[in-house]
């Protein structure tokens, strides 16, 4: 065994990441939690860099600094590295990164997964990491053979010196390569030489996800671990006024019932006794400042507010004058509700808190923030806290919580448990736990001239800010939280006179990014209202989009591709309507065409055609999967779900009253990717925004009914 291997967790690396993006050079190589590796990890690999480890058996471990929540990064990141590393693909394994600055997001400067940025932001970085490791392996071989490294090349995990017909495998070079100083700059392959990038590639995580082996946070079991559930206030900001736990304590298996900042923790030797005991708790709640929340009232207030001018997010031309002189004006108001993320794996977190350390296992999108918050609560320096990232049973933004709510609470429970403890949220806890996509109200007034061309477009948005009151508050500029107006203020249509303004509502409901964030409401309202404007001016909604996107070649191309594949303008069966929408989000361009009908008072979605330009598609099959998933996610929001309040309480609790789209409601979906040589852009979220408006527009085409609120109700179709 080599010295490097023996150093194990405490080894040092000379240059862990000698490339741009604010990465840290010369820092220690983070420990990877020996003894707690996922099942598919490989023992005793040698760290070539912080991102690449190679073992004598030729297995190659890629350290992933982004969380796998279904979007395919545990395949796309290795693809990027291996494009340059050129190891044998079948030997590649993935290990979640521990929390360490060397694994920070190259753009956001902290370890996190979000904003549809993982693959796009790592495009250069991961390829460089692969190239650096390859250069070190080649250098090691060249030294051994006393030849010029430039006379060697690599192939499928082997360094070759063709002139002397010598070959040596990566596995046998790992020790020597790890001692080579990392080169500062290694040229990257020109795209024409790409091997794996752009090729549909099987996901590396699929096998473990079809036999039960993949480990999610909820699956973590530690020796002596207890299980806790928490009785939380049904009112946001409410407090425990009184608790009687006498009956609950009688349940066999209950270890402790303790008050923590978020409520009453019931700690037991398993989930079932904890849950049964919680059901027997008699808790009186002090309702606090939000005890009277009412959706009905909010709807009224939002609508009233939207008639007043707000903070200006965007203004071009003279919209007021243009409206005044328009031949025809069109006014409409749109509403979308609070939405829960409803990941299939409810929130959970395992904490092993000791006097001088804290270890956390959870499916998180927000490692740096979680560690910081956990350290504060544990009273430990951050470096004494380690976060082990498991697979995420869905994230959609919820697991990137600015307050680290589910992690902080679990550390508080661990303080009481005096043993390793897993906090499990039931589905009801999860759906009622807040941090929703904000409720939004959008009011539009547009004007068209005598030939039906739009001359003015004004849009007033009312809703809560996601950034306000969080550590991201500094992102709010001049009263405008950009996530409140994204997709509206940066609208791509060429309106000569445009105004977008914002009223930031102050409501005590915790809100958060939800797959596609602000675009999840602006996509709907802007694109559905666009359809209204087109019809008011007697224009075909597709042709009007073409006209107003003339200076947006990438959007124009996806629009035309979607329309062409959907055979826009062709006859449909009786009762079936067709709608179209486009949306630009996370730097990607998407257009969708929906075919739908209303049968017996219910919407039936027959077909969705989607065209996407996301720059270079790293793994085209993943791009397709994300569009398919985004469309179904968006259809659930369009047709099914809302979180509403009455007397301060959330009215929904489980999949009976917060229903998901099911397989028998799922349409035929076709995805077309625009070939591109531009840098990759977002994929996880951009498929969501266009589907609700395309559906609303299809319903109008089929029935003449305008859909101006989501979810679509039977009464809006009659």
């Amino acid at each position: 065994m080599s010295a490097t291997t023996m150093l194990g967790r405490r080894e040092f690396i000379r240059t862990s990441a000698a490339v741009g993006g604010g990465l840290i050079v010369g820092m220690h190589l983070p420990a990877l939690g020996a003894g707690k590796l996922p099942k598919d990890a490989v023992p005793q690999p040698v760290a070539i860099t912080a991102y690449v480890r190679i073992a004598p058996d030729e297995s190659v471990t890629i350290v992933a600094n982004h969380s796998e929540m279904g979007q395919g990064v545990y395949t796309s990141l290795p693809m990027l590295i291996n494009e340059e590393l050129e190891a044998n693909w079948t030997n590649i394994h993935v290990l979640p990164a521990p929390v360490d600055p060397v694994y920070n997001h190259p753009v956001f400067g902290m370890q996190m997964t979000g904003g549809s940025t993982s693959t796009a932001a790592e495009w250069d970085h991961y390829r460089k990491m692969g190239a650096i490791a390859r250069a070190m392996l080649v250098q090691a071989a060249a030294q051994e053979w006393s030849v010029d490294p430039a006379s060697c090349h690599v192939e499928n995990g082997v360094v070759i010196h063709a002139a002397s017909s010598r070959r040596v495998s990566y596995g046998s070079l790992a020790d020597a390569a790890a001692k080579i100083p990392a080169p500062a700059d290694v040229p990257l392959k020109p795209p024409k030489d790409f091997g794996i990038i752009g090729k549909p590639t099987h996901r590396l995580d699929t096998p473990s996800k079809v036999n039960g082996a993949a480990q999610f946070g909820l699956d973590v079991n530690l020796p002596g671990m207890l299980v806790a559930v928490v009785a939380r206030s049904p009112y946001f900001g409410g407090k425990v006024a009184n608790v009687d736990s006498a009956e609950a304590l009688k349940i066999h298996g209950v270890k402790a019932i303790e008050q923590i900042p978020t409520g009453i923790a019931v700690i037991a030797d398993g989930f079932w006794p904890a849950k049964r005991a919680r059901d027997l708790l008699a808790v009186e709640w002090d309702r606090g400042p939000n005890g009277n929340l009412s959706t009905e009232e909010m709807l009224r207030e939002f609508s009233e507010t939207s008639k007043k001018p707000g903070d200006i997010a965007m203004k071009t031309g003279e919209p007021a004058a243009a409206l005044a002189s328009a031949t025809k004006t069109i006014t409409a108001e749109y509403d979308v509700p609070y939405l829960a993320h409803a990941m299939m794996e409810p929130l959970n977190c395992v904490v092993d808190l000791r006097a001088d350390s804290c270890e956390i296992w959870t499916g998180t999108q927000f490692q740096t923030v979680d560690r910081m918050r956990a350290a504060q609560v544990a009273g430990l320096p951050p470096e004494k806290v380690q976060v082990h990232t498991t697979y995420l049973g869905g994230g959609f933004g919820r697991r990137a919580n600015p307050a680290s709510d589910f992690v902080v609470e679990a550390v508080n429970v661990a303080k009481m448990a005096k043993a390793p403890v897993k906090v499990i949220w039931t589905r009801e806890d999860d759906l009622r736990g807040g941090w929703y996509r904000p409720m939004w109200h959008d009011r539009f007034v547009a004007g068209v001239d005598a030939s039906g061309n739009p001359v003015a477009w004004t849009h007033t948005i009312v809703g809560q800010s996601i950034m306000q009151g969080t550590l991201f508050e500094s992102f709010i500029k001049n009263g405008i939280d950009s996530t409140s107006v994204e997709g509206a203020a940066d609208i791509l249509y060429n309106f000569p006179n445009l105004q977008v303004d914002l009223h930031t509502a102050k409501i005590g409901v915790p809100v958060q990014w939800w797959r596609s964030v602000g675009h999840s409401h602006t996509g709907f309202s802007v694109e559905a209202f666009f359809d209204e404007v087109a019809h008011a001016g007697g224009k075909d909604p597709y042709e009007l989009r073409r006209t107003l996107l003339a200076k947006q070649p990438r959007m124009l191309a996806v629009l035309e591709l979607a329309a062409q594949e959907a055979n826009w303008g062709s006859k449909l069966p009786l009762g079936v309507g067709r709608g179209i929408a486009t949306h630009f989000s996370f730097e990607s361009y998407v257009a969708q065409v929906v075919e739908a009908s209303v049968e017996k008072g219910a919407v039936r979605v027959h077909r969705v055609v989607c065209a996407v330009d996301c720059g270079r598609a790293i793994n085209p099959d993943t791009v397709k999967a994300q569009m398919e998933g985004g469309i179904i996610f968006g259809l659930t929001a369009a047709l099914k779900t809302e979180i509403t309040f009455k007397d301060g309480r959330v009215q929904q609790g489980n999949f009976n009253d917060y229903p998901m789209l099911r397989i028998f409601e799922s349409p035929k979906i076709e995805v077309y990717i625009v070939p591109s040589t531009k840098n990759p852009t977002g994929v996880g979220e951009p498929g969501v925004p266009p589907v609700a408006p395309a559906l609303a527009n299809a319903i109008f085409d089929a029935t003449g009914k305008r859909i101006r609120r989501l979810p679509i109700r039977r009464s809006d179709l009659a």
Binding site: E68, M69, G70, Q71, G72, H202, R203, D205, T206, P207, S208, K209, V210, N211, G212, A214, F216, L218, D219, N221, V227, H252, G253, G270, F271, W272, P273, A342, M343, M344, E345, P346, Y391, L392, G393, G394, G395, F396, I424, T426, R427, D621, A625, E628, G629, G630, I631, I632, F633, N654, F655, N656, M660, L661, R662, I663, F664, S666, K668, I669
Partner: protein, 156 residues
Amino acid sequence: MTKFFVNGKPVQVDVDPSTPLLWVLREALALTGTKFGCGMALCGACTVHLDGRAIRSCVAPVSRAEGKHVTTIEGLSANLTHPLQRAWIELDVPQCGYCQSGQIMSAAILLAENKSPSDEDIDEAMGGNICRCGTYPRIRSAIHRAAELAREQRTK
């Protein structure tokens, strides 16, 4: 003491007989492939087989398993060779993967009873299994593919 069989092996557990089978599998027997999603038989993530029938283990008290045979995702095949697993891998069905154990266990009963299911048969058999990632189109294709693979296996 409740005695039953899991994936062919006899087990006995000493828990409150009202405890749902799901938690016995996950906590007492460390078979974590079966997932908790809703606790109300609404999502299908906890689907296992009880004497060859699909059940929602989150609402099935362990007492119901007394003397019976339970099959979980871990027992579907020893080495990813079940036609459904092969089809799921071939078509890269899972995204987050959390619901897929339940999806596959529901699909396994469908295929056992119907060698060539139609889209309508699939919709009916799989309607109780939610996938938040939206893998339904691939689930449908993969079940058709698995049926094909199973037919090939039988004719070999």
